[in-house]
Symmetry: C2
Subunit: 162 residues, 2 copies
DNA sequence: TTCCTAAATAAGAATAAATACTATTTAAGA
DNA sequence: TCTTAAATAGTATTTATTCTTATTTAGGAA
């Protein structure tokens, strides 16, 4: 869903406010990187973001793009798509099923639901292309991670895990 | 969902059959790599698979693991988890929404559905951990990709795209 | 069974995404 | 304006994945 110019401006205002609340500096780079992600209905990768912002901020470094994106993720101001971890994971279960994914350690478990298998796809989606399959992704904290998670509630973007 | 020993054996038999039908050789490495993915309820990455199979096939190379996994993906005998592309993609839309993803070019579009926002999570899933959010992933072919896709219906694992 | 050959593999080099390091710059509060 | 911790640029490094090439092998033919 695209955001109109006004909506973008509103979002930028909110963004600055949230930065202040989080006690992090509202740098030019941060604002522009967020703007780049927020302004498009697409879901750009780091390099696309880098290229887009670089036009406006020629001194920008790729390192800053990554650092900024991960910190915005930690602050809950953006999300990542698909897998939490960057490595590709494989699945030999070809029967219709769904996944529970731990946001902290990446643990992924299958589950089954007739109801989820037969969700009715909105007409607006069918207009985007040919639908082949539908899967539900439930995200949260697995039991062992939620145990560790007392006090230090830091679900930063994952490095290691099962 | 774990597979009992018998179930695994049945799956291995089916697997060999499918290899034969596809006209590709049933090498020791292929069988063991598939077995490794099929036998666990986990969703291992290439390195995990390599380590597991390496115990049984000490000459195995990591390259073979990747090559085999991608070809099994192309044959439709396994799937990958999460994003089709390996690069991480970012999303500044923090409102509750869902995604349509083109399996060929990776194009990803938001869509909205009250129904999908309020899916009731099965009890079995709640037993796995604390549920934080639920998202529906609709996969298929976007309009422009489905146009190209006449005749050569080869949705092999993606390299480039928008 | 033995032979043949295209297909598959091992090993290691190469590439590309992501991260770490360090000297320099800057936001924002005093 | 001054100060300083936080953030950045630029570069080096790491790590996941892919490529290259010489060697091996599955499986069909003889
Ligand atoms: Mn699965
Ligand atoms: Mn989205
Ligand atoms: Zn976990
Ligand atoms: Zn497409």
């Amino acid at each position: 869903m695209e955001f109109e110019p006004e909506a973008l401006q509103t979002r930028m205002k909110h963004f600055k406010e949230q930065l202040r609340r989080a006690g992090v500096k509202a740098t030019h780079q941060r604002l522009e990187i967020f703007r780049e992600v927020a302004k498009s209905g697409d879901h750009p990768d780091a390099e696309g973001i880098y290229k887009g912002v670089h036009k406006r901020v020629p001194t920008l470094s790729l390192d800053t793009v990554y650092r900024t994106l991960w910190s915005l993720l930690d602050l809950g101001l953006i999300t990542t798509l698909g897998a939490t971890r960057r490595r590709v994971r494989f699945d030999a279960n070809m029967s219709s099923h769904h996944h529970f994914i731990c946001a902290k350690c990446g643990m992924t478990r299958d589950f089954y639901s007739k109801k989820f298998d037969t969700l009715e796809i909105p007409a607006a989606v069918k207009a985007l292309g040919i639908v082949e399959k539908t899967q539900v992704e439930v995200r949260g904290l697995c039991i062992s991670c939620s145990k560790e998670d007392n006090s230090k509630s830091n679900v930063s973007h994952i490095k290691e895990g099962k």
